[in-house]
């Protein structure tokens, strides 16, 4: 099982580049796409989900034959989108539901379109509704669901056909903290034998589940690798520093801060910087959030404290 993205670009009307020569190879596991708003995450996901055609480049999918468990022949998803769609689960960032149907009916509809026979579909839907915690309200019209409940219906539909490639765009948007944890756990559980691509701008979500992280900004891939490798890159570059609150503005101007917290003894700041930001600062254990800011900042060259190695 493999997904190869090769030099993919997407140009929208008015010469707006959604993606620029994007390339990466994916194997089973969870890839978290992180990046600021408008970075191109949704464009990439829509291309991978066969919704949008790339302007340049190609995406090749190598699926697995479920009976022999052997790799099938690779296909270009622009030319043969249905090969991928058979094994694709997709949760769009922005989607709707039919308010007069209940969750079971809505999922039955999508299961039929995905080609599941009704017995399999019914069993699967029961199980999925339990997994996403909607069992008790499954017979209520979707029109009365809250945003988080609808999001969980979306998650369930993406899993209907037990996809080999699962693409979830901002899946935890609208979920309450308890459901977010539940969903993360579900993703980790699913990741064993499929490729999961998850986009988020919440780095802690990525940190919890991802086996690989791709940082994307302005349509370009900034960094792609295991979280551990990214953490190593900022080893010795994250500082914990207590400063008087009146100096905060000046420090913010000069340095890249990944967090600030006011305490009785001053403001506790986390600084990402190649060198010691000031007297009294001590190195801290890097977190993924620090690495993310580090890479973004390095690409944009916006803060003096972070240099290009």
């Amino acid at each position: 099982m493999r997904l190869v993205i090769d030099g993919v670009s997407k140009v929208y009307k008015g010469n707006v580049w959604g993606l620029r020569s994007f390339g990466m190879e994916l194997n089973p596991g969870v890839l978290a796409l992180v990046g600021p708003n408008g970075a191109g995450k949704s464009t990439l996901m829509r291309i991978l989900a066969t919704i949008t055609q790339p302007t340049e480049g190609r995406v090749t999918w190598t699926g697995v034959d479920r009976s022999t468990l052997e790799d099938k022949a690779p296909v270009d998803i622009s030319r043969s989108p249905d090969e991928l769609r058979e094994v694709l689960g997709y949760l769009p960032q922005d989607f709707g539901i039919y308010p007069n149907l209940n969750a079971v009916e809505f999922l039955e509809y999508l299961a039929a379109l995905k080609g599941l026979d009704s017995r399999t579909a019914r069993r699967r839907i029961d199980e999925l509704l339990r997994v996403v915690n909607l069992g008790e309200v499954s017979r209520r019209p979707l029109g009365g669901y809250s945003g988080g409940m609808k999001q969980r219906v979306g998650i369930a539909q993406a899993l209907l056909n037990d996809p080999q490639l699962l693409i979830v765009d901002e899946p935890t948007a609208g979920l309450d903290p308890e459901e977010r944890v539940r969903f993360r756990n579900l993703l980790s559980e699913l990741a064993g034998d499929r490729i999961v691509i998850l986009s988020t701008h919440i780095v802690s979500d990525a940190e919890a589940t991802a086996t690989e992280i791709a940082i994307i900004d302005k349509g370009r891939l900034l960094e792609h690798g295991a979280p551990e490798r990214m953490l190593q890159a900022v080893e010795g570059k994250v500082w914990h520093w207590v400063i008087p609150s009146k100096e905060l503005a000046a420090v913010q101007q000069q340095h890249l801060l990944s967090s600030t917290a006011r305490r009785s003894d001053g403001v506790h700041v986390r600084v990402v910087s190649d060198s010691l930001p000031g007297t009294g600062a001590q190195t801290a254990e890097p977190a993924l959030e620090d690495a993310y800011l580090y890479y973004l900042s390095r690409a944009n060259g916006s803060r003096s404290g972070v240099g290009v190695p």
Binding site: G96, E108, L110, N161, G174
Partner: protein
């Protein structure tokens, strides 16, 4: 001043949003093409506007009158459906809720929307005026173009009626039960009623001449002048007038210089404009200012990104913080916004939080994976989508209508009853091909294998099933009376209407296109019984000339067109 400034920007943003759509250019292109057809050459085989057997030569007065009549009588029908989506767009995009939190008053909002609607229709009127001048030049019967005459005729006749249509569009969008298809059907009835009543009401039965009354279209004074001129030349002339008619043998032309617009006639037009303004203002009363709590329960497109978080799940928010604090190691209640976490919070939760003892959700792998097309499953689900959520009133009406068909009160009543079963499900059909866009499920549906082929034929046949269910009284009546040819023709109609709906829905992307086109088709084919437009075997002439066979072919072509277009949309 501040209000005017706000109003200006409201209208400006709205107009920009609309004229930058490709559909607006298409409408202008259609207007130009229609303008070309309105002024046919002598050998075209038809005429637009003749009085008796004559028409005026194509000078500015005559062309102005023709275009003015079309702008006043027909453009308000097309125009209404064209502009009746501006409040809806604000509702769907969520912009409405943002506007609702600004100081813009309800009156300013509805007036802004009215003016924006009017601006769009005015642009079309402008295109028509330019086209009128071009056509006068092209036909060359009178080379002197009088711009002032063209402007006054077309704009004085058209503008007040268009203003009224623009205002009614806003009003209909603000009244909850008129917002959707039912409003479209009711507007059609109002438009038709107005047309019939103005045309018949302006004729004096004693003389057969039009008499200048205060009429909606502002045409009677001009028409009386023309009739006077025709009668003066030939007192025995037949002075009936028609807007579009085939050319016969004895047609001639005459020069009409027009009677000009007297202050009283202009005042009448201004009064109609004032009435239009009043209708727009009335819209502020039912306008709900995008308050979802005042919305009728269902039917609105709710997208995840627009949802307010005050749904059922919010009820347990108070106890939530404690639960989370227990659930996630390292998170304290105080870290979560004084123990009141927001439902959509993007609150960073530390990685890897699993509640002690919580079962990690587990999914059984699918042994029998997806296998090809499950037509019946999709068909059943499509049918459920169509029928679920219809009001009890709709079902009761359908039942009553079909029982009435079977009980057969009288032949004349039967004709209308049989026609009515073709109109009752119009709002069910008009959702075909549009529902995905309206409810924002496109991306999920389009990412299944062979989405167009798996879904659309099933959608079409579900529409056919609706026709058969909702018209069971009608076809049973035909079957019981042994009218087999009529029965087969009826079934062709059941194939045709959903095919038309599906094709127009997919191509136009909205339900209004079908609602407007089908209402006209139904009226012309089944009520006025024009054989070529009789899609359901209601006329003997239609049956004899094999019209149903043509409609069978058209149905297949329409379904194919829908599939082709949907495939293009998916690939785009």
């Amino acid at each position: 001043m501040k209000t005017l400034h706000g109003l200006y920007h409201l209208v400006r943003a709205d107009v920009y949003e609309r004229i930058r759509r490709r559909s607006f250019l298409i409408i202008l292109a259609i207007t130009i093409f229609a303008g070309y057809l309105f002024v046919p050459p002598a050998d075209a085989g038809y005429r637009v506007l003749q009085v008796g057997a004559q028409r005026g030569i194509y000078n500015s007065q005559w062309i102005g009158l023709m275009f003015g009549l079309i702008a006043a009588m027909h453009l308000p029908l097309v125009g209404f459906y064209l502009v009746k989506n501006t409040v809806e767009r604000d509702r769907l995009t969520g912009v409405g809720q943002i506007i609702a939190t600004t100081p813009v008053s309800k009156v300013t909002y509805v007036v802004g929307k009215w003016l924006s609607n009017l601006a769009i229709l005015t642009a079309i009127l402008g295109a028509m005026t330019v086209m009128a001048a071009i056509m006068q030049l092209l036909r060359g019967e009178d080379a002197a173009i009088n711009v002032w005459v063209l402007l006054t005729w077309i704009w004085l006749m058209g503008m007040p009626v268009l203003a009224l249509a623009a205002a009614m569009a806003v009003l209909f969008e603000c009244v909850s039960f008129l917002r959707r298809g039912l409003g479209n059907v009711i507007y059609f009835a109002i438009w038709l009623g107005a047309l019939i009543s103005v045309l018949s009401g302006s004729i004096d039965e004693a003389t057969g001449l039009v008499h200048p009354t205060s009429d909606l279209y502002g045409f009677t004074r001009q028409m009386a002048d023309i009739q006077g001129q025709v009668m003066a030349a030939d007192p025995d002339a037949e002075i009936g007038s028609s807007l579009v008619s085939p050319t016969g043998d004895s047609e001639g032309t005459f020069v009409w210089e027009g009677s000009g617009w007297k202050p009283r006639a202009i005042l009448e037009r201004v009064i109609w404009l004032g009435i239009a303004g009043a209708v727009a203002l009335v819209a502020a009363i039912p306008f709900d200012r995008f308050d979802p709590a005042r919305r009728r329960g269902q039917g609105s497109a709710v997208r995840i990104s627009q949802l307010s978080e005050d749904g059922p799940a919010a009820s347990h928010s108070a106890a939530m913080a404690d639960r989370i604090a227990k659930l996630i190691p390292g998170v304290h209640r105080d870290d979560m916004g004084r123990g009141q976490p927001t439902q959509t919070s993007n609150l960073p939760i530390p990685a890897g939080g699993v509640r002690r003892g919580e079962v990690i959700p587990h999914l059984t792998p699918l042994i029998a994976p997806a296998r090809g097309w499950r037509f019946f499953g999709v068909f059943a689900a499509e049918l459920k989508l169509m029928l679920k959520g219809q009001s009890l009133f709709w079902y009761a009406g359908a039942l009553a209508l079909n029982l009435a068909c079977l009980l057969n009160p009288s032949e004349e009543a039967q004709r209308y009853l049989l026609s009515m079963v073709w109109i009752w499900p119009i709002l069910v059909w008009s959702q075909m091909g549009v529902r995905e866009r309206r409810f924002g499920t496109e991306q999920m549906l389009f990412s299944v294998p062979r989405p167009a082929l798996r879904q659309l034929p099933a959608t079409w046949l579900a529409g056919v099933a609706v026709a058969i269910i909702a018209g069971s009284g009608a076809w049973l009546f035909l079957a019981l009376h042994g009218e087999m040819v009529s029965l087969l023709a009826w079934l062709v109609g059941a194939l045709f209407v959903p095919a038309l709906s599906l094709a127009l829905g997919v191509w136009a992307g909205n339900s209004r296109a079908f609602e407007a086109a089908y209402l006209l088709w139904w009226y012309a084919g089944l009520i006025e019984q024009v054989p070529a437009l009789d899609y359901a075997g209601a006329t003997a002439a239609g049956l004899q000339t094999g019209v149903p066979l043509v409609y069978l072919g058209i149905s297949a072509a329409l379904v194919a067109m829908a599939v082709i277009r949907r495939r293009q949309q998916i690939q785009a």
